[in-house]
């Protein structure tokens, strides 16, 4: 028994080390004095100061965050609709087609998605003048195409694990479908929506391939700027920025975790109460 617990602990430690040591080393090196990313030259916070002066990176980071937030919101709305259709509307005509089509971007190589979107935008601009040039709008649309699929899958699986009887009961009591959706279904699938939103946000934030194809002047996202800097070596102010992002993401994940845990607890309690009432 004892042996297996040391084994389990070492696996746990190894697993966490594997996941977090790279991030930790990045955080440590963001306080490096040296310009070389991999050589320790003493403690300093100068790169945080330099970061604040680096308009290019800050603008790119701000742009990425804006795109990611709009994209995530849009993807959650569209993905929920698609997930709802797939999970609740039975066997309608074209269901297989719809489910295949919405999940296709999951398996499509990003290079192909990017290329085809680029072609589409160019053709559309030629045909009816919209979108005028490539930039913020086209990147957001492209990211939604990509992330929509993830949200759909999450929402659909959440819905299929959900007991229909709750909705049926509401219907019995005379609620209209819209009311059922907003009062019953939506609160129950809220945790799925939150994780879908976060997932879309993250995917959008670090997408490089698709973005490279569909961006235009003045719309270089953070990953594009960082990647273009790789040619001359990554400068430590990027470490500083990454540290700040890690911090923000950690806070976001913790908040989402608390929210979801609460939801789950309430759901269990409600279910117990429902069972007791029977």
């Amino acid at each position: 028994m004892k042996q297996s617990s040391t084994f389990r602990i070492s696996v746990l430690v190894f697993g966490f080390a594997f996941l977090y040591i790279p991030i930790l080393s990045l955080i440590v090196y963001s306080f490096n004095k040296s310009r070389l990313v991999t050589v320790w030259g003493g403690f300093s916070t100068q790169w945080y100061g330099r970061l604040l002066e680096n308009r290019q990176i800050l603008d790119a980071a701000w742009l990425s965050l804006k795109i990611a937030a709009i994209n995530a919101t849009g993807a959650v709305i569209l993905g929920t609709l698609a997930g709802l259709a797939l999970a609740r509307f039975g066997k309608f005509r074209g269901r297989t087609l719809l489910s295949g089509m919405t999940t296709a971007p999951l398996v499509m190589p990003e290079v192909i998605t990017g290329l085809s979107l680029l072609m589409l935008f160019v053709v559309m601009e030629g045909a009816f003048g919209w979108p005028a040039g490539r930039g913020f709008t086209t990147i957001t649309i492209a990211h939604m195409t990509l992330t929509l699929a993830y949200v759909t899958v999450i929402v659909q699986s959440r819905l299929s694990s959900l007991d229909d009887s709750l909705e049926e009961a509401a219907m019995d009591l005379g609620a209209r479908p819209a009311k059922i959706f907003f009062l019953i279904t939506l609160p129950i699938i809220a945790p799925a929506l939150v994780s879908g939103w976060l997932l879309s946000f993250t995917i959008s934030l670090d997408d490089l391939v698709v973005t490279s194809f569909v961006s235009g002047p003045g719309s270089s996202t953070l990953p594009m700027v960082i990647f273009s800097k790789v040619r001359l070596g990554v400068s430590p102010d990027i470490n500083a920025l990454a540290t700040i992002i890690v911090l923000l993401v950690t806070i976001g994940v913790i908040l989402a975790g608390i929210f979801m845990a609460r939801q789950e607890k309430r759901r269990l309690r409600d279910m117990q109460m429902a069972a007791a009432a029977k």
Binding site: S34, R35, L208, K229, R231, G233
Partner: protein, 383 residues
């Protein structure tokens, strides 16, 4: 991982570029007609520039904005492939772009660029005639482009480590890289080669005493065979990583681009870990490449673009840029204002004897491109 990503992205870009080139041919005429009326109208005070990353002095853009009141949107790329994809897709939205001359050569043929209105660029009078002549091999008559900065492909090395192996013998010949017996001496200390197949094949041909720009199958194959012999001694094939690796002291020798290696030298000095880096242009001669300022045919602000190019060719501005990025510029009159240590660095401004041996890297045709890709694949995988 980054490498795998890089090559898959590049493969995608190449496919796109080909697909778009076909499409672009059809659009060419249309674009020409479209921009005639636009040019007459007054232009918005806006300019979209697309340049290599870290390739301009820190205050150049700001000064230009202050001087002209034109608001500049400045974006950066890190590979010619990326730029080409955007350009060939059409309507890229950029007004000034900076492709390398060999790419520019192809892009001119695809009708991507407009002819420059030289009356709007009076500073062209400062250009170095020798450079102009060399560039004309890519852009006949210098009609579409102006040389921004130029450099060479050579050998960067860790001074102390190489000295330990070679003693007082200098590292100044391609023979020391491409002869298996010579390179074997450096086996344990790390050698990296650019992931730029055309350039490497061309320098090998030059070393073999053949025409470096030969597109003949037999020449390319012969060069690749020589490369295959030294493959076991090469640790990395990459176009940017060697900057940091040299500066950290992880690499002994890197076949790379002049400015990048000088960047590594400065960075190593800054880090103060005692690593000394030097750049040498092999005596057999090497590639000289140019990064060119050009205006896409469908640019929306051609007038501002001309003004920007003219501004960059102001001798003082050109000198500032060279001082900052360690690359030579094509502006003869700027030379007096270039810092001594940049101007007198034979790695940046080669001596006339070395300059005489520099040769351009001309664009390959379709056949040679395919052959090159196949041979390079074999080389990188080491089979």
């Amino acid at each position: 991982m980054s490498r795998a990503f890089n090559s898959s992205l590049r493969a995608g870009l190449v496919v796109t570029a080909i697909a778009l080139a076909v499409a672009a041919c059809g659009k060419k005429e249309e674009a020409k007609q479209a921009d005639a009326p636009g040019a007459a109208a007054a232009e918005e005070k806006v300019l979209h520039v697309y340049n290599w990353s870290d390739y301009i002095a820190e205050d150049t853009i700001k000064n230009f904005e202050e001087k002209t009141g034109i608001k500049v949107t400045y974006d950066v790329f890190d590979s010619n492939d990326m730029l080409e994809t955007r350009l060939l897709a059409g309507n890229s939205g950029f007004d000034v772009v900076v492709p390398s001359a060999s790419f520019l050569e192809r892009q001119i043929k695809a009708g991507v660029f407009q002819k420059l209105d030289k009356s709007q660029i009076p500073n062209l009078s400062h250009m170095d005639p020798d450079i102009q002549q060399r560039v004309a091999l890519h852009d006949p008559g210098n009609e579409h482009s102006v040389t921004y900065l130029w450099g060479t492909t050579g050998i960067g090395y860790n001074v102390d480590k190489v000295k330990k192996i070679l003693g007082d013998k200098p590292l100044d010949s391609w023979n020391q890289i491409f002869d298996p017996k010579e390179i074997a001496k450096f086996k344990d200390c790390g050698i990296s080669v650019l992931d730029a197949p055309d350039e490497i094949l061309k320098v090998v041909l030059q070393w073999m005493g053949r025409d470096p720009n030969s597109q003949k199958d037999e020449d390319l194959t012969a060069a690749a065979e020589k490369l295959q012999l030294i493959r076991p001694y090469i640790r990395k094939i990459h176009s940017s990583q060697y900057i940091d690796d040299l500066a950290n002291g992880d690499l002994c020798i890197a076949v790379g681009w002049s400015g990048d290696i000088l960047q590594a030298r400065d960075r190593a000095a800054e880090a103060g870990q005692g690593v000394k880096i030097a750049y040498s242009i092999p005596k057999e001669g090497t590639i000289v490449w140019f990064d060119m300022l050009a205006i896409p045919a469908d640019a929306k602000h051609p007038k501002n673009a001309h003004a920007f190019i003219n501004y960059l060719m102001d001798p003082q501005v050109a000198a500032n840029n060279s001082n900052f990025v360690n690359y030579a510029n094509g502006n003869a009159d700027s030379l007096t204002m270039v810092k001594e240590e940049v101007k007198n660095d034979p790695g940046v401004y080669p001596t006339p004897e070395v300059k005489a041996k520099l040769f351009p890297s001309l664009a390959y045709g379709e056949q040679a491109t395919a052959t090159m890709a196949r041979l390079w694949q074999k080389f990188t995988t080491g089979q």
